[in-house]
Symmetry: C2
Subunit: 286 residues, 2 copies
Amino acid sequence: MTHMSGTLGIVAGGGELPIAIAQTARDKGRAVFILALEGAARPSDVASFPHGFVSIGEVGKAIRLLKQAGCSDITLAGRVSRPDFGNLKLDTRGAMALPRVVAAALKGDDALLRALLGLFEKEGFTVIGSAEAARDLLAPAGPLGKLKPAKEDQSDILHALRVVRAMGALDIGQAAVVCRGLVLAVEAAEGTDAMMARIAELPGALRGTVKQRKGVLVKAAKPHQERRVDLPVIGLHTVELAKAAGLAGIAVESGAALIMNRTAVAANADRAGLFVYGFGSAEFSR
Amino acid sequence: MTHMSGTLGIVAGGGELPIAIAQTARDKGRAVFILALEGAARPSDVASFPHGFVSIGEVGKAIRLLKQAGCSDITLAGRVSRPDFGNLKLDTRGAMALPRVVAAALKGDDALLRALLGLFEKEGFTVIGSAEAARDLLAPAGPLGKLKPAKEDQSDILHALRVVRAMGALDIGQAAVVCRGLVLAVEAAEGTDAMMARIAELPGALRGTVKQRKGVLVKAAKPHQERRVDLPVIGLHTVELAKAAGLAGIAVESGAALIMNRTAVAANADRAGLFVYGFGSAEFSR
Protein backbone atom coordinates (compact mmCIF):
# COMPACT_ATOMS: atom_id res chain seq x y z
CA MET A 1 0.00 0.00 0.00
CA THR A 2 2.74 2.43 0.90
CA HIS A 3 4.63 3.64 -2.14
CA MET A 4 8.25 3.81 -1.17
CA SER A 5 9.60 4.20 -4.66
CA GLY A 6 10.65 7.50 -6.20
CA THR A 7 10.94 10.92 -4.67
CA LEU A 8 8.18 12.05 -2.33
CA GLY A 9 6.83 15.46 -3.38
CA ILE A 10 5.59 17.58 -0.51
CA VAL A 11 3.39 20.52 -1.49
CA ALA A 12 4.05 22.66 1.56
CA GLY A 13 2.00 25.37 3.22
CA GLY A 14 2.98 27.01 6.50
CA GLY A 15 3.64 25.47 9.90
CA GLU A 16 5.66 22.52 11.14
CA LEU A 17 3.79 19.67 9.46
CA PRO A 18 5.40 19.66 5.99
CA ILE A 19 8.83 19.78 7.60
CA ALA A 20 7.93 16.97 10.02
CA ILE A 21 6.82 14.86 7.05
CA ALA A 22 9.98 15.61 5.07
CA GLN A 23 12.15 14.77 8.06
CA THR A 24 10.29 11.55 8.86
CA ALA A 25 10.38 10.35 5.24
CA ARG A 26 14.07 11.19 4.89
CA ASP A 27 14.83 9.36 8.16
CA LYS A 28 13.30 6.29 6.54
CA GLY A 29 15.65 6.70 3.59
CA ARG A 30 13.27 8.21 1.07
CA ALA A 31 14.22 11.09 -1.23
CA VAL A 32 12.01 14.14 -0.80
CA PHE A 33 11.28 17.35 -2.73
CA ILE A 34 9.42 20.25 -1.12
CA LEU A 35 7.27 22.39 -3.37
CA ALA A 36 6.91 25.41 -1.11
CA LEU A 37 3.95 27.79 -1.48
CA GLU A 38 4.99 31.43 -1.50
CA GLY A 39 3.68 33.40 1.43
CA ALA A 40 2.86 30.24 3.39
CA ALA A 41 6.02 28.09 3.71
CA ARG A 42 9.06 29.81 5.23
CA PRO A 43 12.31 29.74 3.25
CA SER A 44 14.34 28.99 6.40
CA ASP A 45 12.19 25.92 7.14
CA VAL A 46 12.63 24.30 3.75
CA ALA A 47 16.27 25.31 3.20
CA SER A 48 17.74 21.98 4.33
CA PHE A 49 15.70 19.98 1.79
CA PRO A 50 15.65 20.00 -2.01
CA HIS A 51 12.90 22.50 -2.79
CA GLY A 52 11.33 25.08 -5.10
CA PHE A 53 8.89 27.94 -4.56
CA VAL A 54 5.64 28.64 -6.48
CA SER A 55 2.67 30.93 -6.08
CA ILE A 56 -0.59 29.11 -5.42
CA GLY A 57 -1.84 30.18 -8.86
CA GLU A 58 1.17 28.81 -10.76
CA VAL A 59 -0.24 25.39 -11.42
CA GLY A 60 1.85 24.83 -14.56
CA LYS A 61 5.10 25.66 -12.81
CA ALA A 62 4.16 23.47 -9.83
CA ILE A 63 3.60 20.44 -12.05
CA ARG A 64 6.83 21.08 -13.97
CA LEU A 65 8.95 21.33 -10.80
CA LEU A 66 7.44 18.17 -9.29
CA LYS A 67 8.05 16.22 -12.50
CA GLN A 68 11.62 17.52 -12.82
CA ALA A 69 12.31 16.33 -9.26
CA GLY A 70 11.12 12.83 -10.23
CA CYS A 71 8.10 12.79 -7.94
CA SER A 72 5.29 10.34 -8.58
CA ASP A 73 3.75 10.40 -5.11
CA ILE A 74 2.85 13.78 -3.71
CA THR A 75 1.32 14.87 -0.44
CA LEU A 76 -0.22 18.23 0.53
CA ALA A 77 0.45 19.55 4.01
CA GLY A 78 0.56 22.74 6.04
CA ARG A 79 -1.58 25.81 6.46
CA VAL A 80 -2.60 27.84 3.44
CA SER A 81 -4.85 30.82 3.87
CA ARG A 82 -7.73 30.87 1.44
CA PRO A 83 -6.37 32.81 -1.51
CA ASP A 84 -7.88 36.10 -2.57
CA PHE A 85 -9.01 34.80 -5.97
CA GLY A 86 -9.19 38.32 -7.37
CA ASN A 87 -5.48 39.01 -6.77
CA LEU A 88 -3.81 35.77 -7.72
CA LYS A 89 -0.52 35.41 -9.58
CA LEU A 90 -1.65 32.96 -12.27
CA ASP A 91 0.13 31.05 -15.00
CA THR A 92 -1.81 29.61 -17.95
CA ARG A 93 -2.64 26.36 -16.22
CA GLY A 94 -3.64 28.22 -13.11
CA ALA A 95 -5.96 30.49 -15.08
CA MET A 96 -7.58 27.49 -16.73
CA ALA A 97 -8.14 25.73 -13.41
CA LEU A 98 -9.39 28.81 -11.63
CA PRO A 99 -13.15 28.71 -12.32
CA ARG A 100 -13.51 25.15 -11.03
CA VAL A 101 -11.40 25.89 -7.93
CA VAL A 102 -13.34 29.05 -7.09
CA ALA A 103 -16.63 27.19 -7.46
CA ALA A 104 -15.35 24.47 -5.13
CA ALA A 105 -14.06 27.02 -2.63
CA LEU A 106 -17.57 28.38 -2.21
CA LYS A 107 -18.72 24.98 -1.01
CA GLY A 108 -16.26 24.82 1.89
CA ASP A 109 -12.71 23.89 2.67
CA ASP A 110 -13.17 20.21 1.94
CA ALA A 111 -14.53 20.83 -1.52
CA LEU A 112 -11.65 23.22 -2.21
CA LEU A 113 -9.11 20.59 -1.22
CA ARG A 114 -10.75 17.91 -3.31
CA ALA A 115 -10.63 20.19 -6.34
CA LEU A 116 -6.90 20.77 -5.84
CA LEU A 117 -6.26 17.05 -5.45
CA GLY A 118 -8.14 16.44 -8.67
CA LEU A 119 -5.80 18.80 -10.53
CA PHE A 120 -2.73 16.82 -9.50
CA GLU A 121 -4.29 13.44 -10.14
CA LYS A 122 -5.14 14.43 -13.69
CA GLU A 123 -1.42 14.99 -14.24
CA GLY A 124 -0.67 11.41 -13.24
CA PHE A 125 0.59 12.05 -9.71
CA THR A 126 -0.57 9.76 -6.94
CA VAL A 127 -1.79 11.94 -4.09
CA ILE A 128 -1.14 10.30 -0.73
CA GLY A 129 -2.02 11.47 2.77
CA SER A 130 0.40 12.77 5.37
CA ALA A 131 -0.09 9.52 7.28
CA GLU A 132 0.92 7.41 4.31
CA ALA A 133 3.86 9.67 3.50
CA ALA A 134 5.14 9.51 7.08
CA ARG A 135 3.45 6.68 8.95
CA ASP A 136 5.50 7.32 12.09
CA LEU A 137 3.53 10.54 12.66
CA LEU A 138 0.23 8.71 13.29
CA ALA A 139 -1.10 8.99 16.85
CA PRO A 140 -0.71 5.71 18.77
CA ALA A 141 -3.43 4.32 21.07
CA GLY A 142 -3.32 5.11 24.79
CA PRO A 143 -1.42 7.73 26.75
CA LEU A 144 1.63 9.20 25.03
CA GLY A 145 3.36 10.34 28.22
CA LYS A 146 3.03 9.33 31.84
CA LEU A 147 -0.42 10.82 32.56
CA LYS A 148 -3.83 9.41 31.71
CA PRO A 149 -7.28 11.03 31.53
CA ALA A 150 -9.14 10.79 34.84
CA LYS A 151 -12.81 9.81 34.94
CA GLU A 152 -14.06 13.40 34.52
CA ASP A 153 -11.63 13.93 31.67
CA GLN A 154 -13.00 10.87 29.92
CA SER A 155 -16.52 12.34 30.07
CA ASP A 156 -15.18 15.61 28.71
CA ILE A 157 -13.40 13.78 25.88
CA LEU A 158 -16.62 12.00 24.98
CA HIS A 159 -18.66 15.20 24.97
CA ALA A 160 -16.03 17.13 23.01
CA LEU A 161 -15.91 14.33 20.46
CA ARG A 162 -19.68 14.53 20.07
CA VAL A 163 -19.36 18.28 19.49
CA VAL A 164 -16.49 17.93 17.01
CA ARG A 165 -18.42 15.32 15.04
CA ALA A 166 -21.50 17.54 14.86
CA MET A 167 -19.27 20.42 13.74
CA GLY A 168 -17.46 18.23 11.28
CA ALA A 169 -20.66 17.08 9.64
CA LEU A 170 -21.27 20.75 8.76
CA ASP A 171 -17.64 21.32 7.60
CA ILE A 172 -17.04 23.82 10.42
CA GLY A 173 -13.88 22.74 12.20
CA GLN A 174 -12.15 19.85 13.87
CA ALA A 175 -11.50 20.95 17.45
CA ALA A 176 -13.43 21.73 20.63
CA VAL A 177 -12.64 22.33 24.29
CA VAL A 178 -14.93 20.93 26.99
CA CYS A 179 -14.48 21.45 30.72
CA ARG A 180 -16.64 19.47 33.14
CA GLY A 181 -19.41 19.10 30.62
CA LEU A 182 -19.42 22.72 29.47
CA VAL A 183 -18.36 23.52 25.89
CA LEU A 184 -15.80 26.29 26.32
CA ALA A 185 -14.88 26.79 22.68
CA VAL A 186 -15.52 25.48 19.21
CA GLU A 187 -13.15 25.95 16.32
CA ALA A 188 -14.38 27.53 13.08
CA ALA A 189 -12.40 29.59 10.56
CA GLU A 190 -10.06 31.02 13.23
CA GLY A 191 -8.18 27.73 13.67
CA THR A 192 -7.08 25.81 16.73
CA ASP A 193 -4.47 28.31 17.95
CA ALA A 194 -6.87 31.25 18.15
CA MET A 195 -9.52 29.01 19.69
CA MET A 196 -7.13 27.87 22.42
CA ALA A 197 -5.91 31.39 23.11
CA ARG A 198 -9.37 32.53 24.13
CA ILE A 199 -9.85 29.82 26.79
CA ALA A 200 -7.66 31.75 29.23
CA GLU A 201 -9.89 34.81 28.77
CA LEU A 202 -13.02 33.00 29.95
CA PRO A 203 -14.26 33.56 33.53
CA GLY A 204 -12.14 31.58 35.99
CA ALA A 205 -15.10 29.63 37.35
CA LEU A 206 -15.66 27.96 33.97
CA ARG A 207 -12.21 26.58 33.35
CA GLY A 208 -9.11 25.02 34.84
CA THR A 209 -5.94 26.79 35.86
CA VAL A 210 -2.24 25.98 35.79
CA LYS A 211 -2.55 24.86 39.41
CA GLN A 212 -5.78 22.94 39.07
CA ARG A 213 -5.96 21.65 35.53
CA LYS A 214 -9.29 20.65 34.05
CA GLY A 215 -10.95 20.34 30.68
CA VAL A 216 -9.75 18.76 27.44
CA LEU A 217 -8.95 19.70 23.88
CA VAL A 218 -10.20 17.15 21.39
CA LYS A 219 -9.20 17.26 17.74
CA ALA A 220 -10.81 14.82 15.36
CA ALA A 221 -11.21 14.48 11.61
CA LYS A 222 -14.47 15.52 10.06
CA PRO A 223 -16.63 12.47 9.24
CA HIS A 224 -16.50 13.07 5.49
CA GLN A 225 -13.12 14.69 5.55
CA GLU A 226 -10.63 14.22 2.78
CA ARG A 227 -8.27 12.27 5.01
CA ARG A 228 -5.45 12.42 2.51
CA VAL A 229 -5.09 16.10 3.19
CA ASP A 230 -6.36 17.26 6.45
CA LEU A 231 -5.93 14.91 9.39
CA PRO A 232 -5.88 16.71 12.73
CA VAL A 233 -2.35 17.55 13.86
CA ILE A 234 -0.90 18.25 17.28
CA GLY A 235 2.64 19.12 18.29
CA LEU A 236 4.76 20.99 20.80
CA HIS A 237 2.81 24.16 20.13
CA THR A 238 -0.47 22.42 21.01
CA VAL A 239 1.00 21.30 24.34
CA GLU A 240 2.04 24.91 25.03
CA LEU A 241 -1.47 26.16 24.27
CA ALA A 242 -3.13 23.50 26.44
CA LYS A 243 -0.73 24.29 29.25
CA ALA A 244 -1.53 28.01 29.10
CA ALA A 245 -5.28 27.30 28.89
CA GLY A 246 -5.22 25.34 32.17
CA LEU A 247 -6.44 22.15 30.48
CA ALA A 248 -5.95 18.67 31.91
CA GLY A 249 -5.01 17.24 28.54
CA ILE A 250 -5.32 16.68 24.82
CA ALA A 251 -7.04 13.78 23.09
CA VAL A 252 -7.00 12.65 19.47
CA GLU A 253 -8.21 9.54 17.71
CA SER A 254 -5.42 6.99 17.47
CA GLY A 255 -4.54 6.20 13.87
CA ALA A 256 -6.53 9.20 12.64
CA ALA A 257 -4.43 12.15 13.82
CA LEU A 258 -0.80 13.17 13.50
CA ILE A 259 1.62 13.96 16.29
CA MET A 260 4.72 15.91 15.34
CA ASN A 261 7.85 15.49 17.48
CA ARG A 262 6.28 12.73 19.51
CA THR A 263 9.12 12.24 21.99
CA ALA A 264 9.36 15.92 22.82
CA VAL A 265 5.55 16.21 23.00
CA ALA A 266 5.42 13.41 25.59
CA ALA A 267 8.26 14.94 27.63
CA ASN A 268 6.78 18.45 27.61
CA ALA A 269 3.30 17.16 28.46
CA ASP A 270 4.73 15.23 31.42
CA ARG A 271 6.56 18.32 32.61
CA ALA A 272 3.42 20.47 32.30
CA GLY A 273 1.22 17.88 34.06
CA LEU A 274 -0.93 17.21 30.98
CA PHE A 275 -2.05 13.99 29.36
CA VAL A 276 -1.88 13.39 25.62
CA TYR A 277 -4.21 10.54 24.83
CA GLY A 278 -4.99 8.54 21.70
CA PHE A 279 -8.48 7.10 22.06
CA GLY A 280 -9.68 4.14 20.04
CA SER A 281 -12.55 4.68 17.64
CA ALA A 282 -14.47 1.96 19.52
CA GLU A 283 -13.69 3.44 22.94
CA PHE A 284 -15.67 6.59 22.29
CA SER A 285 -17.75 5.74 19.29
CA ARG A 286 -21.10 7.58 19.18
CA MET B 1 -52.13 34.81 28.75
CA THR B 2 -50.22 37.93 29.63
CA HIS B 3 -50.38 38.71 33.32
CA MET B 4 -50.70 42.44 33.64
CA SER B 5 -51.71 42.46 37.27
CA GLY B 6 -49.35 43.24 40.15
CA THR B 7 -45.78 44.38 40.11
CA LEU B 8 -43.42 42.77 37.61
CA GLY B 9 -40.29 41.47 39.36
CA ILE B 10 -37.18 41.54 37.19
CA VAL B 11 -34.29 39.43 38.45
CA ALA B 12 -31.53 41.33 36.72
CA GLY B 13 -28.06 40.28 35.61
CA GLY B 14 -25.76 42.53 33.58
CA GLY B 15 -26.30 44.19 30.23
CA GLU B 16 -29.08 46.22 28.67
CA LEU B 17 -31.83 43.63 28.57
CA PRO B 18 -33.24 43.88 32.12
CA ILE B 19 -33.37 47.65 31.78
CA ALA B 20 -35.06 47.41 28.38
CA ILE B 21 -37.67 45.11 29.90
CA ALA B 22 -38.25 47.42 32.87
CA GLN B 23 -38.58 50.41 30.57
CA THR B 24 -40.94 48.65 28.16
CA ALA B 25 -43.17 47.33 30.97
CA ARG B 26 -43.29 50.73 32.67
CA ASP B 27 -44.15 52.41 29.36
CA LYS B 28 -47.17 50.09 29.23
CA GLY B 29 -48.20 51.29 32.68
CA ARG B 30 -47.03 48.32 34.73
CA ALA B 31 -45.26 48.69 38.11
CA VAL B 32 -41.82 47.07 38.14
CA PHE B 33 -39.28 46.04 40.78
CA ILE B 34 -35.70 45.16 39.83
CA LEU B 35 -33.95 42.56 41.96
CA ALA B 36 -30.37 43.32 40.91
CA LEU B 37 -27.65 40.67 41.21
CA GLU B 38 -24.50 42.00 42.85
CA GLY B 39 -21.50 42.00 40.57
CA ALA B 40 -23.68 41.63 37.46
CA ALA B 41 -26.24 44.47 37.36
CA ARG B 42 -24.81 48.00 37.52
CA PRO B 43 -26.18 50.32 40.23
CA SER B 44 -26.34 53.24 37.77
CA ASP B 45 -28.51 51.20 35.38
CA VAL B 46 -31.14 50.25 37.93
CA ALA B 47 -31.15 53.53 39.86
CA SER B 48 -34.22 54.99 38.13
CA PHE B 49 -36.42 52.00 39.03
CA PRO B 50 -37.54 50.60 42.41
CA HIS B 51 -34.87 48.01 43.15
CA GLY B 52 -32.83 45.99 45.66
CA PHE B 53 -29.49 44.18 45.47
CA VAL B 54 -28.74 40.56 46.43
CA SER B 55 -25.86 38.16 46.01
CA ILE B 56 -26.66 35.18 43.80
CA GLY B 57 -26.42 32.92 46.86
CA GLU B 58 -28.93 34.90 48.95
CA VAL B 59 -32.01 33.02 47.88
CA GLY B 60 -33.92 33.78 51.08
CA LYS B 61 -33.31 37.52 50.81
CA ALA B 62 -34.23 37.50 47.11
CA ILE B 63 -37.60 35.88 47.82
CA ARG B 64 -38.28 38.28 50.70
CA LEU B 65 -37.55 41.40 48.64
CA LEU B 66 -39.69 40.22 45.72
CA LYS B 67 -42.60 39.44 48.04
CA GLN B 68 -42.26 42.79 49.85
CA ALA B 69 -42.43 44.56 46.48
CA GLY B 70 -45.73 42.79 45.74
CA CYS B 71 -44.42 40.77 42.80
CA SER B 72 -46.30 37.69 41.66
CA ASP B 73 -44.86 37.50 38.15
CA ILE B 74 -41.10 37.48 37.86
CA THR B 75 -38.78 37.33 34.90
CA LEU B 76 -35.04 36.57 34.77
CA ALA B 77 -32.90 38.56 32.37
CA GLY B 78 -29.35 39.70 31.74
CA ARG B 79 -25.92 38.16 31.82
CA VAL B 80 -24.74 36.34 34.91
CA SER B 81 -21.36 34.68 34.93
CA ARG B 82 -21.45 31.16 36.23
CA PRO B 83 -20.84 31.56 39.97
CA ASP B 84 -17.76 30.13 41.60
CA PHE B 85 -19.73 27.73 43.79
CA GLY B 86 -16.85 27.42 46.24
CA ASN B 87 -16.82 31.14 47.08
CA LEU B 88 -20.48 32.03 47.25
CA LYS B 89 -22.08 34.41 49.77
CA LEU B 90 -24.93 32.15 50.93
CA ASP B 91 -27.91 32.65 53.19
CA THR B 92 -29.71 29.65 54.72
CA ARG B 93 -32.03 29.17 51.76
CA GLY B 94 -29.15 29.53 49.37
CA ALA B 95 -27.15 26.90 51.23
CA MET B 96 -30.09 24.49 51.13
CA ALA B 97 -30.60 24.99 47.40
CA LEU B 98 -26.93 24.76 46.53
CA PRO B 99 -26.43 21.01 46.00
CA ARG B 100 -29.26 20.80 43.48
CA VAL B 101 -28.09 23.90 41.64
CA VAL B 102 -24.49 22.72 41.43
CA ALA B 103 -25.64 19.33 40.14
CA ALA B 104 -27.72 21.08 37.48
CA ALA B 105 -24.88 23.43 36.57
CA LEU B 106 -22.74 20.45 35.64
CA LYS B 107 -25.29 19.46 33.01
CA GLY B 108 -25.08 22.77 31.13
CA ASP B 109 -26.47 26.26 31.16
CA ASP B 110 -30.02 25.21 30.36
CA ALA B 111 -30.19 22.77 33.26
CA LEU B 112 -28.79 25.45 35.57
CA LEU B 113 -31.47 27.91 34.49
CA ARG B 114 -34.24 25.39 34.91
CA ALA B 115 -33.06 24.65 38.45
CA LEU B 116 -33.16 28.36 39.31
CA LEU B 117 -36.64 28.73 37.83
CA GLY B 118 -37.79 25.78 39.92
CA LEU B 119 -36.66 27.53 43.10
CA PHE B 120 -38.84 30.55 42.38
CA GLU B 121 -41.84 28.54 41.27
CA LYS B 122 -41.80 26.58 44.51
CA GLU B 123 -42.26 29.90 46.30
CA GLY B 124 -45.44 30.60 44.38
CA PHE B 125 -44.05 33.07 41.85
CA THR B 126 -45.08 32.76 38.23
CA VAL B 127 -41.94 32.87 36.13
CA ILE B 128 -42.58 34.49 32.77
CA GLY B 129 -40.23 35.04 29.84
CA SER B 130 -38.76 38.35 28.72
CA ALA B 131 -41.09 38.25 25.73
CA GLU B 132 -44.17 37.93 27.90
CA ALA B 133 -42.94 40.59 30.30
CA ALA B 134 -42.27 43.03 27.46
CA ARG B 135 -43.95 41.85 24.30
CA ASP B 136 -42.85 44.93 22.36
CA LEU B 137 -39.28 43.61 22.42
CA LEU B 138 -40.08 40.60 20.22
CA ALA B 139 -38.47 40.66 16.77
CA PRO B 140 -41.01 41.36 14.02
CA ALA B 141 -41.03 39.53 10.67
CA GLY B 142 -39.19 41.02 7.70
CA PRO B 143 -36.57 43.74 7.46
CA LEU B 144 -36.37 46.11 10.43
CA GLY B 145 -34.71 48.96 8.54
CA LYS B 146 -34.50 49.84 4.86
CA LEU B 147 -32.18 47.04 3.72
CA LYS B 148 -33.01 43.42 2.94
CA PRO B 149 -30.83 40.31 2.65
CA ALA B 150 -29.65 39.71 -0.93
CA LYS B 151 -29.75 36.24 -2.46
CA GLU B 152 -26.27 35.29 -1.19
CA ASP B 153 -27.15 36.59 2.25
CA GLN B 154 -30.24 34.39 2.29
CA SER B 155 -28.08 31.31 1.64
CA ASP B 156 -25.74 32.41 4.41
CA ILE B 157 -28.67 32.88 6.79
CA LEU B 158 -29.92 29.39 5.99
CA HIS B 159 -26.51 27.80 6.54
CA ALA B 160 -25.87 29.75 9.74
CA LEU B 161 -29.26 28.69 11.05
CA ARG B 162 -28.39 25.05 10.33
CA VAL B 163 -25.15 25.53 12.27
CA VAL B 164 -26.82 27.28 15.20
CA ARG B 165 -29.45 24.53 15.44
CA ALA B 166 -26.78 21.82 15.48
CA MET B 167 -24.92 23.79 18.16
CA GLY B 168 -28.08 24.39 20.10
CA ALA B 169 -28.96 20.70 20.19
CA LEU B 170 -25.69 20.18 22.09
CA ASP B 171 -26.27 23.20 24.40
CA ILE B 172 -23.24 25.01 22.97
CA GLY B 173 -24.36 28.47 21.95
CA GLN B 174 -26.91 30.39 19.95
CA ALA B 175 -24.95 32.37 17.38
CA ALA B 176 -22.87 31.78 14.27
CA VAL B 177 -21.38 33.87 11.47
CA VAL B 178 -21.38 32.56 7.90
CA CYS B 179 -19.87 34.34 4.91
CA ARG B 180 -20.51 33.01 1.42
CA GLY B 181 -21.02 29.50 2.69
CA LEU B 182 -18.01 29.43 5.00
CA VAL B 183 -18.57 29.23 8.76
CA LEU B 184 -16.41 32.03 10.14
CA ALA B 185 -17.24 31.66 13.82
CA VAL B 186 -19.37 29.71 16.22
CA GLU B 187 -20.31 30.93 19.67
CA ALA B 188 -19.56 28.79 22.72
CA ALA B 189 -18.81 29.94 26.29
CA GLU B 190 -17.18 33.19 25.14
CA GLY B 191 -20.50 34.79 24.15
CA THR B 192 -21.59 36.70 21.07
CA ASP B 193 -19.46 39.81 21.66
CA ALA B 194 -16.17 37.93 21.82
CA MET B 195 -17.20 35.80 18.86
CA MET B 196 -17.95 38.86 16.75
CA ALA B 197 -14.74 40.59 17.76
CA ARG B 198 -12.65 37.85 16.22
CA ILE B 199 -14.25 38.09 12.76
CA ALA B 200 -12.20 41.18 11.95
CA GLU B 201 -9.01 39.24 12.77
CA LEU B 202 -9.67 36.57 10.15
CA PRO B 203 -7.81 36.74 6.82
CA GLY B 204 -9.36 39.39 4.57
CA ALA B 205 -10.12 36.93 1.78
CA LEU B 206 -12.57 35.04 4.01
CA ARG B 207 -14.78 37.90 5.10
CA GLY B 208 -16.44 41.16 4.16
CA THR B 209 -15.15 44.64 4.82
CA VAL B 210 -16.71 47.96 5.71
CA LYS B 211 -16.60 48.86 2.01
CA GLN B 212 -17.80 45.53 0.66
CA ARG B 213 -20.04 44.00 3.28
CA LYS B 214 -20.71 40.27 3.23
CA GLY B 215 -21.65 37.51 5.62
CA VAL B 216 -24.35 37.32 8.28
CA LEU B 217 -24.72 36.91 12.00
CA VAL B 218 -27.58 34.61 12.93
CA LYS B 219 -28.79 34.26 16.51
CA ALA B 220 -31.44 31.68 17.26
CA ALA B 221 -32.79 29.95 20.35
CA LYS B 222 -31.61 26.45 21.12
CA PRO B 223 -34.23 23.87 20.09
CA HIS B 224 -34.85 22.70 23.67
CA GLN B 225 -34.03 26.04 25.20
CA GLU B 226 -35.87 27.32 28.24
CA ARG B 227 -37.49 30.11 26.27
CA ARG B 228 -38.70 31.85 29.39
CA VAL B 229 -35.15 32.77 30.22
CA ASP B 230 -32.81 32.91 27.37
CA LEU B 231 -34.19 34.11 24.05
CA PRO B 232 -31.51 35.51 21.75
CA VAL B 233 -31.15 39.26 22.10
CA ILE B 234 -29.78 41.91 19.76
CA GLY B 235 -29.42 45.63 20.24
CA LEU B 236 -27.37 48.68 19.31
CA HIS B 237 -24.22 46.93 20.44
CA THR B 238 -24.87 44.03 18.06
CA VAL B 239 -25.21 46.46 15.16
CA GLU B 240 -21.87 48.03 16.14
CA LEU B 241 -20.20 44.61 16.20
CA ALA B 242 -21.67 43.59 12.84
CA LYS B 243 -20.59 46.89 11.35
CA ALA B 244 -17.01 46.45 12.56
CA ALA B 245 -16.94 42.83 11.37
CA GLY B 246 -17.79 43.85 7.79
CA LEU B 247 -21.00 41.81 7.78
CA ALA B 248 -23.91 42.43 5.42
CA GLY B 249 -26.44 41.97 8.18
CA ILE B 250 -28.01 40.31 11.18
CA ALA B 251 -30.87 37.81 11.17
CA VAL B 252 -33.02 36.45 13.99
CA GLU B 253 -36.18 34.39 14.08
CA SER B 254 -39.22 36.65 14.22
CA GLY B 255 -41.22 36.12 17.38
CA ALA B 256 -38.38 34.13 18.95
CA ALA B 257 -35.73 36.79 19.59
CA LEU B 258 -35.66 40.15 21.32
CA ILE B 259 -34.59 43.48 19.85
CA MET B 260 -33.74 46.21 22.32
CA ASN B 261 -34.13 49.84 21.22
CA ARG B 262 -35.74 48.83 17.97
CA THR B 263 -36.07 52.29 16.45
CA ALA B 264 -32.45 53.17 17.09
CA VAL B 265 -31.31 49.73 15.89
CA ALA B 266 -33.11 50.25 12.57
CA ALA B 267 -31.68 53.75 12.16
CA ASN B 268 -28.11 52.72 12.98
CA ALA B 269 -28.31 49.67 10.73
CA ASP B 270 -29.50 51.86 7.84
CA ARG B 271 -26.67 54.29 8.44
CA ALA B 272 -24.10 51.46 8.52
CA GLY B 273 -25.51 49.80 5.40
CA LEU B 274 -26.60 46.64 7.24
CA PHE B 275 -29.85 44.71 7.18
CA VAL B 276 -31.56 43.48 10.34
CA TYR B 277 -33.95 40.75 9.33
CA GLY B 278 -36.58 38.70 11.16
CA PHE B 279 -37.08 35.44 9.28
CA GLY B 280 -40.20 33.32 9.68
CA SER B 281 -39.79 29.85 11.13
CA ALA B 282 -41.35 28.45 7.94
CA GLU B 283 -39.13 30.52 5.67
CA PHE B 284 -35.96 28.74 6.74
CA SER B 285 -37.23 25.63 8.44
CA ARG B 286 -35.14 22.51 7.74
